[in-house]
């Protein structure tokens, strides 16, 4: 195991993209700072050197223009992989995303496909404040016509990227900045895992049991999975067996895996770094309560970002973010174990 090759999510994304570019001339990459710089978050590093700046092209700071262009290129038979540097920037280009990219397949009765990948960074925790720290999972997953994925580790990152590029539909590929393995953003060691050299797919729409347990189900995605795993470790020491479900995809949502886990444990905690209300956490809870109410031994709970803009000051942001301590306390309350001080 010591000699196993481990990659960061950034490297895994770039490797998957490069492998697809080698076998499929339709694949090209565009976005801001993705060529010479290799992406602000490292996920296109090495591509311009290997494939040149026609296929790996820096764009002007014109998200409406180049995401709209990706839609047109995809409809014309190409497979664009496009970067929206921060998901927070969706405000300047959402028409191209949800009115064009996500609707043209439907509006054309399936005659035009829009096979494109929109990579975008999510998440905070490093004091970048509320225009560069959001997750917005629910905002994208809410709107029909686009798949939405977000990996928690490099193995899934590569497999999901390969699957996304090969998918005939638009895929929003959300990568969490805290998991990228860029030193300057902090490093979540749990995201750096073994990644096979050869190309492989991780099925879009399939969740994974990241840790098995009996007493409580912790459902999350991306960074939240690591909070869940850390909490599960602590809980285990306290006699509570937590199961951690890594959604990996939000659209399609693997409702079966969520329901099966809750059927086993009877308790549900959703951890979501996106805003609390009207979002992913509510959807997961509805998934269970609509069909499996009798499975629940306790009301489901959610640990999500409160409904406030993300503040700059470290203590304020950290107060709002989900973390392992909050999950441990919630799990203990659900399992009616006294909460330790």
């Amino acid at each position: 195991m010591e000699n196993e090759r481990k990659l960061t999510i950034a490297r895994a994304m770039a490797e998957a993209t490069a492998q697809e570019m080698r076998i499929d001339p339709r694949v090209f990459v565009m976005g801001e700072d993705i060529a010479d710089l290799g992406g602000v978050f490292g996920n296109t590093r090495g591509l311009a050197e290997e494939f040149g700046k026609e296929r790996v092209r820096d764009t002007p700071i014109s998200e409406t223009g180049f995401i709209g262009a990706a839609v047109g290129a995809a409809q014309d038979g190409m497979r664009p992989v496009v970067e929206l540097m921060f998901v927070d920037f969706f405000g300047v280009c959402f028409d191209a995303i949800y009115n064009l990219m996500a609707k043209n397949t439907y509006f054309s009765g399936g005659k035009f496909n829009v096979p494109m990948v929109l990579m975008t960074s999510t998440g905070g925790g490093y004091s970048d404040a509320g225009q560069h720290s959001q997750c917005l999972y629910g905002s994208f997953a809410h709107l029909p016509g686009m798949k939405v994925v977000s990996p928690s580790n490099a193995y899934d990152a590569k497999g999901l990227m390969t699957a996304a590029i090969r998918d005939p539909n638009p895929v929003i590929y959300m990568y969490h900045k805290g998991l990228q393995g860029m030193g300057w953003l902090g490093t979540e060691k749990g995201a750096i895992v073994h990644v096979p050299e050869e190309a492989y797919e991780v099925e879009i729409g399939k969740a994974k049991i990241a840790r098995e347990g009996r007493d409580v189900t912790i459902v999350s995605i991306a960074q939240g999975v690591h909070h869940g795993l850390k909490a599960a470790k602590v809980l285990a020491e306290q006699g509570i067996s937590a199961e951690v479900v890594d959604l990996r995809s939000l659209v399609p949502l693997d409702r079966d895996t969520i329901r099966a886990s809750v059927a086993k444990t009877g308790r549900l905690i959703v951890v979501d770094e996106d805003y609390h209300s009207f979002g992913v956490s509510g959807e997961i809870i509805a998934t269970v309560t609509e069909s499996n109410l009798a499975d629940l031994k306790a009301p489901p709970r959610r640990i999500a970002y409160p409904d406030v803009p993300i503040p700059f000051a470290r203590v304020m942001e950290q107060h709002c973010l989900p973390n392992a301590d909050k999950i441990v306390a919630t799990a203990r309350a659900l399992c009616q174990a006294p909460i330790l001080a």
Binding site: P25, F28, E54, R55, R57, T59, P60, S62, T64, G65, F66, I67, G68, A69, A70, V71, G72, A73, A74, Q75, D76, G77, M78, P80, V92, D95, A96, N99, L100, N104, T105, Y106, F107, S108, G109, G110, K111, F112, N113, P115, P144, G145, K147, P168, N169
Partner: protein, 328 residues
């Protein structure tokens, strides 16, 4: 550059077809909507933006296009679709919301998509431009022939997408032509009220590309200027911006009382109706006989009538088909 005679005949035919199509739609649209106008009623519900008067733009540009060339159109797309060769029967059926429509009734009149002739729409102002640039980029990257035309209105020239895409097309030297239909009105807001300069074609200078303004809603002049721009694009010399004065003979949409128009404006526009004007010109200067033009008109009208009848007779979609075709 005068079009060859068969092109002139084609242009006239498509203008007549487009006008007849709109007039038929106009009549049928009102079925079930009187005495009380409710957009949701009748065989053609929803908004309806007619292109009467704007036909010269569509034919002058599309006369130079092949099926492989890409067109992105607007919320007012019928004349552009007809000139690009979109399947008329399926388009009519789509506008009626029928199962036999281009997209089985999912899109309707503002979302006309025909993959066979590379025609796509967006009902959002200026948002066809990005996809047109992308199609042009696709051809450039693949070394495949074809240019992309983005039709927009003069109101779209104040949208961010217009400026972003012009810059993108220019900096990447894309095989693309942006065609502004200046019908003087953004719904009820006059061009001079919304636009800081008189001529949007001047904005081409900001992106270092050629810009042309064509006054007079003149199909032959449009043909000439568009031909040069398309040739330029095909030769890899980059994009061109063309603004064309045209006439919106109808309201912004059906039901528009047009109280904002100055008195006499519409009468003046109808007096300059491009279709009788072109007919006159074809006889006077291009050697067409009246009988020849009558035959062209009859053919154009016949095809439209056939398409409308097809749409009328076609079945509604299955309601539950609304849940399909979201994904490929």
């Amino acid at each position: 550059m005068t079009p060859p005679k068969d092109t002139l005949a084609w242009m006239y035919e498509k203008m007549v077809a487009s006008r007849h199509f709109e007039e038929e739609i106009e009549t049928i649209y009102m079925e079930g909507k009187t005495p009380v106008f409710n957009m949701a009623n009748g065989p053609i519900p929803g908004e309806m933006h007619l292109s009467n008067g704007q036909e010269p733009v569509a034919v002058g540009v599309c006369a130079h296009l092949n099926p492989e060339d890409v067109v992105t159109a607007t919320h007012r797309p019928h004349h552009q679709a007809i000139a690009k060769g979109v399947n008329l029967k399926k388009m009519a059926a789509e506008i009626f919301g029928k199962a036999t429509g281009l997209s089985g009734g999912r899109g309707g009149h503002m979302h006309i998509f025909d993959a066979d002739v590379n025609f796509a729409c967006s009902g959002i102002i200026a948002q066809g431009m990005g996809p047109a640039a992308g199609a042009a980029l696709s051809r450039k990257l693949q070394g495949k022939p074809g240019v992309a035309i983005s039709f927009i209105g003069e109101g779209a020239a104040n949208q961010g997408a217009f400026h972003e895409t012009l810059n993108l097309a220019a900096v990447w030297k894309l095989p693309m032509v942006i065609v502004i239909e200046d019908n003087a009105w953004g719904i009820s807001v006059a061009k001079e009220t919304s636009t800081a300069i008189q001529c949007n074609a001047d904005r081409a200078a900001a992106y270092g590309i050629p810009g042309h303004y064509i006054p007079g809603n003149d199909p032959l002049k449009i043909y000439e200027v568009a031909g040069e721009a398309i040739e330029r694009a095909r030769n890899g010399e980059g994009p061109t911006l063309i603004e064309i004065e045209t006439y919106r003979l109808a309201g912004h949409f059906m039901g528009d009382a047009e109280g904002y128009r100055p008195e006499g404006e519409k009468d003046a526009l109808f007096a300059k109706d491009p279709i009788p004007n072109l007919r006159q010109l074809l006889v006077a200067e291009h050697g067409f006989a009246d009988a020849e033009l009558d035959a062209i008109e009859a053919k154009a009208r016949g095809e439209v009538d056939e398409a409308i009848a097809f749409a009328r007779q076609s079945p509604d979609p299955k309601p539950e088909d609304a849940l399909t075709a979201v994904f490929a």
